[in-house]
């Protein structure tokens, strides 16, 4: 999960840990505000050991390379390796049950621009199915045995059910968008005036890689 995200970010450009953490925080914004260093550094170590990433640009203090942007000190800049790119492509196309968990799904979604449409649909539908199951569970819970619970527990369950229903709707819109080749646009609910400027969201080229 974190592995996937790191590989994805390093594909875009080389970075050191601190920077990586920040990018992670914005790219995955909604999910986890910020990754813990207690996770990040061990993961970097692991990835390096596996050969997916490597250190680069050590700024050896005796060389006069281009000095990056800020000051150079003990910073360790990581870059992705060829094997790392392969690994990332693998992860990108893979879609197992784990992929549909809250966190994992969101990370995958954040890198959808790098996937082909078939994969996107597979993941979107898998996620939908999972959320639907959850929704059904909550519906049953609320239908029977409402009297077993106190008002707060009930409210919690109602709220959860609500969230499920909303997410299913959201997923359905996205799926429809994919099928029609529209992408993740926002064509509906433009609040006022015309549909003029463009229901056409930016077209991100390359629908396929590898």
């Amino acid at each position: 999960m974190l592995e996937f995200a790191i590989l994805g970010l390093l594909t875009e450009s080389a970075m050191h840990g601190y920077e990586l953490r920040k990018e992670l925080g914005t790219k995955l914004g909604p999910i986890r505000a910020a990754i813990s260093y207690g996770t990040l550094y061990p993961t970097l170590k692991r990835l390096q050991l596996a050969g997916w990433i490597a250190q680069a640009g050590e700024t050896p203090a005796t060389a006069d390379e281009v000095p990056a942007l800020t000051s150079r000190r003990g910073r360790i800049v990581y870059r992705i390796t060829a094997e790392g790119k392969e690994r990332f492509a693998e992860l990108l196309a893979h879609a197992g049950p784990e992929t549909y968990d809250d966190a994992a799904f969101n990370v995958h979604f954040a890198f959808f621009a790098r996937t082909d449409r078939a994969t996107r649909l597979r993941i979107l539908e898998g996620r939908r199915r999972k959320v639907e199951e959850r929704r059904e569970g909550l519906r049953n819970l609320l239908a029977r045995a409402s009297e077993r619970f106190d008002a707060y527990t009930l409210e919690l369950q109602r709220h959860g059910l609500d969230a499920c229903e909303r997410e299913v709707r959201w997923l359905e819109e996205l799926i429809a968008g994919e099928r029609s080749g529209r992408g993740p646009g926002r064509p509906p609910n433009l609040p006022l005036s015309a549909e003029s400027t463009g229901g056409e969201q930016e077209r991100h080229g390359r629908d396929d890689l590898s």
Copy 2:
């Protein structure tokens, strides 16, 4: 977090692990569909070691006690101890920053019926503040630098922002409900007919404990 939930459930009645897991799954419905045994059993061990819970009703096979409900076998029934009840009361009233995390907040909320109003308000407001901060972060992100991201990443952030806004609204309703002494009722959006049977949610007595 799990400790808190287990203590809370065992306050209601003694149970064995398997049962506990199920109850956890319904009581905390929206949050985590089911707790892993890899978490549950070690936690039970830990709680027992700490003295908060104890084994009970071993059904010694040589005694002719009341045989519970189903068959008796190697099942281990746990009950909460006096110290455990104290511990639970502590956790119930406590509200630190950890309390406002997604998971922790939901668990606390599930046991709100056992808290006093002041605590409920404290937690609700703490949570609101946290979600608001997150919301502001996302708003900034979307306001500036929208062009840095591809359409999918943007959509993810929009969706996240949406969820934040909705949760803040939800929390605000709950806070208003608490202040007016109404509790977590559903007075608005009763879809049709009368408000006859009882806009009055069940009144759970004892607004205070300890």
